[in-house]
């Protein structure tokens, strides 16, 4: 993740130059060996599973595929997944911008600690993350008894799923923005203030345009993870069909019940989401690349 900002600015053209030059060119066999290894690996471990998902999904034909998707439990799983993403992504967007702003533009004690802490959800197993919430909000947890007294349900209910999703998708936006904002410094913001801009004008007219591609990139990755998260959500969900199942959980249940075609049909939706995410991500990288090539062409 830390390197994500780096590939926002691809160095196109250097490979061609390297190849055209006799002095730096490798022997043809090196080139083809490396290519073969890379492509074989790619087909075996990436392409094949992806093709398999769609092949299995359509094995019993269009009607069975559609039937598996419009079935009430599937629809409720899709709905819940969308709700979880719709809540966690905007929250993490706001948090990410605020955290990146604080880290890049201010000096305060504990800054390094905060930077490390933001990475916590990446380094801890999602299952542990889920268990933490059970430990806090569950029936035997710290504030579980109080919650049940007041008839508030968090674990085995939608709030728990949203909380778990927020936790695992916490770092995406912040991680994209921090290196970029640190590199950009605060000169432009200071210039804006001396020219009479208010805090909000400075953010909207100067900061935001400078970070917009990295921000979008972070949001896209955050969304993909929010919809695809399995481990943490699985622990807090309770797997109540039609109520607390998200799409990944629904796929697992169907699969365990030997409804392979239906399982793959729902899985194909997730795979589709991944492909769309990739397409948007590539587009953003291309746009950001255009921007940076304008910047370096001076």
């Amino acid at each position: 993740m830390a390197g994500a900002a780096a590939h926002l600015a691809p160095h196109s053209g250097s490979a061609t130059r390297f190849e055209a030059n006799v002095a730096t060119r490798d022997a043809p066999w090196v080139k083809y060996t490396v290519l073969t290894i890379g492509l074989t690996y790619f087909v075996l471990f990436l392409m094949l599973p992806l093709v398999a998902v769609f092949a299995e999904a359509f094995r019993k034909g269009w009607e069975a595929y559609l039937a598996a998707l419009v079935e009430p439990d599937a629809l409720s799983a899709i709905k819940l997944t969308l709700i979880a993403a719709a809540i966690s992504v905007p929250l993490n967007l706001v948090f990410g911008v605020a955290a990146a702003w604080a880290i890049a533009k201010f000096d305060f004690p504990g800054k390094q600690f905060l930077i490390s802490l933001i990475d916590l959800p990446f380094s801890v197993s999602p299952v542990v993350a889920g268990l933490v919430y059970v430990l806090i909000f569950g029936a035997q947890g710290w504030i579980g008894p109080w919650l049940s007294e007041h008839d508030i349900k968090i674990i085995f209910a939608v709030p728990g799923i949203v909380l778990a999703t927020i936790f695992v998708t916490f770092p995406f936006v912040a991680r994209e923005l921090i290196p970029l904002m640190q590199a950009q410094g605060r000169d432009e913001e200071e210039a804006a203030v001396t020219l009479g801009a208010s805090g909000w004008q400075m953010f909207r007219r100067v900061t935001l345009p400078n970070i917009k591609w990295a921000l979008l990139y972070g949001v896209i990755l955050c969304n993909a993870r929010a919809m695809g998260e399995f481990g943490a959500v699985s622990v807090v969900s309770g797997h109540i069909r039609g109520e607390t199942n998200t799409m990944p959980l629904h796929v697992e249940i169907l699969y365990n019940e030997y409804q392979f075609a239906a399982a793959f049909a729902v899985a194909s939706l997730l795979a589709l989401l991944a492909l769309v995410t990739l397409a948007i991500k590539t587009y953003i990288e291309w746009r950001a690349g255009l921007n940076s090539s304008v910047e370096t062409s001076s």
């Binding site: 432009e188 200071e190 210039a191 001396t194 020219l195 009479g196 801009a197 304008v294 062409s297 001076s298």
Partner: protein
């Protein structure tokens, strides 16, 4: 607008960047804050602008205490060393920024903005670049745009932080002259920070010379160059020959050599630093007890004045300055018949002495 700096101090951790600075800058002048890097000049400039908060003291702008005013209410134009242009905006939009962020009731109409920005771009002679983006401009052009942008909001005072520091020598010289011309046209009170003495001497009306968070001397470029008030000022401005030694009557003993001086208020035996400009230093040949022994290293003859570079004899230097420089007129040069490697003595008609611990 006049700027008064009252007792300003600022520390970064244990490092004292500014130590009780007091300064009066009258309106309409172009003032240079000059000093070596780390002397606190940029910090002082940023405190005047409000981009940095002083630990103590106050900033008074036009007779009004502005210490607790927000940057945007101080009406200062700030020009950054690295331009700080808005990279996603065209040159035109950069200059228009200050006008567009004004409150609705003060904001000029689109037509007025267009007219004003065009006028400013003409002023900095870059109207043909209005649609370009900052990244497509050269450093010199960027800094001129940054200046136009700062001027757009009609600031009471213009603060420039090493404005030409990131540019190459030729462009720097050009922009210097241009800044001076611009100031003569607009007469806006301006303060610029520089570590380049040549720049300060050439452009400014007055120089504030700073060192280690304190002000060493304030004066016109002439005064600063011809009458340096402190040993730091002497060493920092212009080329200078430096001798360290002890007072012995009418002489300063430098190693085994004796330099005559004209001061009468010095005690025998006190340590002093003596300075002399190259054009105030002379070379003497033959048997004499007066003057510091040195060896002619190079004779640089380009132009009307010949510069002679000398190396101090070993015992005279004691790990201090190794080289001396003397400017000789063609007539004197012919009379001296100098040769490279020759042993001579140098002394000065106008030796300036400073006690080792003396500041004034």
């Amino acid at each position: 607008m006049s700027i008064e700096v009252r007792n300003i101090s600022k520390s970064f951790g244990a490092f004292k960047a500014l130590d009780k600075i007091n300064l009066d800058l009258p309106r309409g002048e172009l003032i240079a804050l000059l000093g070596p890097s780390g002397c606190g000049k940029t910090t002082l400039l940023r405190i005047i602008a409000g981009l940095e908060q002083a630990d103590e003291g106050s900033i008074i702008l036009s007779g009004e205490d502005a210490s607790h005013k927000h940057v945007r209410e101080r009406h200062v134009g700030f020009v950054f060393q690295h331009y700080a242009l808005f990279r996603h905006m065209s040159v035109f939009e950069n200059v228009a920024f200050g006008l567009r962020v004004k409150d609705k009731k003060e904001r000029p109409s689109e037509k007025e903005i267009r007219a004003k920005v065009t006028r400013l771009l003409e002023l900095v002679q870059l109207d043909w670049l209005a649609d370009r983006f900052p990244q497509q401009l050269s450093g010199g052009q960027r800094q001129r745009i940054a200046l136009a942008r700062a001027l757009a909001v009609e600031p009471q005072v213009l603060l420039l932080d090493e404005p030409f520091g990131a540019l190459d020598a030729k462009v720097r010289k050009e922009l210097r002259r241009w800044l001076r011309r611009l100031h003569d046209e607009l007469h806006i009170s301006s303060v610029f920070v520089t570590h380049d003495q040549e720049e300060a001497l050439e452009v400014s009306d007055r120089i504030v010379l700073m060192n280690k968070g304190r002000i060493e001397q304030i004066g016109s470029p002439r005064e600063i160059y011809n009458e340096p008030a402190t040993s730091f000022a002497y060493g920092f401005i212009g080329t200078v020959n430096e001798f360290r030694g002890r007072v012995e009557g009418n002489y300063v003993r430098v190693g085994e050599d004796l330099l005559p001086h004209g001061r009468t208020d010095l005690h025998d035996g006190s340590s002093v630093v003596a300075f002399a400009r190259p054009h105030e230093t002379e070379i003497v040949k033959g048997e004499s007890r007066e003057g510091v022994a040195a060896k002619v290293n190079r004779i640089l003859n380009n132009g009307a004045i010949t510069r002679v570079e000398l190396i101090a004899n070993g015992d005279a230097r004691q790990g201090k300055k190794d080289y001396f420089e003397v400017e000789v007129t063609p007539a004197d040069l012919a009379a001296l018949e100098l040769a490279t490697g020759e042993h001579v003595r140098i002394k000065s008609r106008r030796l300036s002495l400073f006690g080792e611990n003396e500041t004034k």
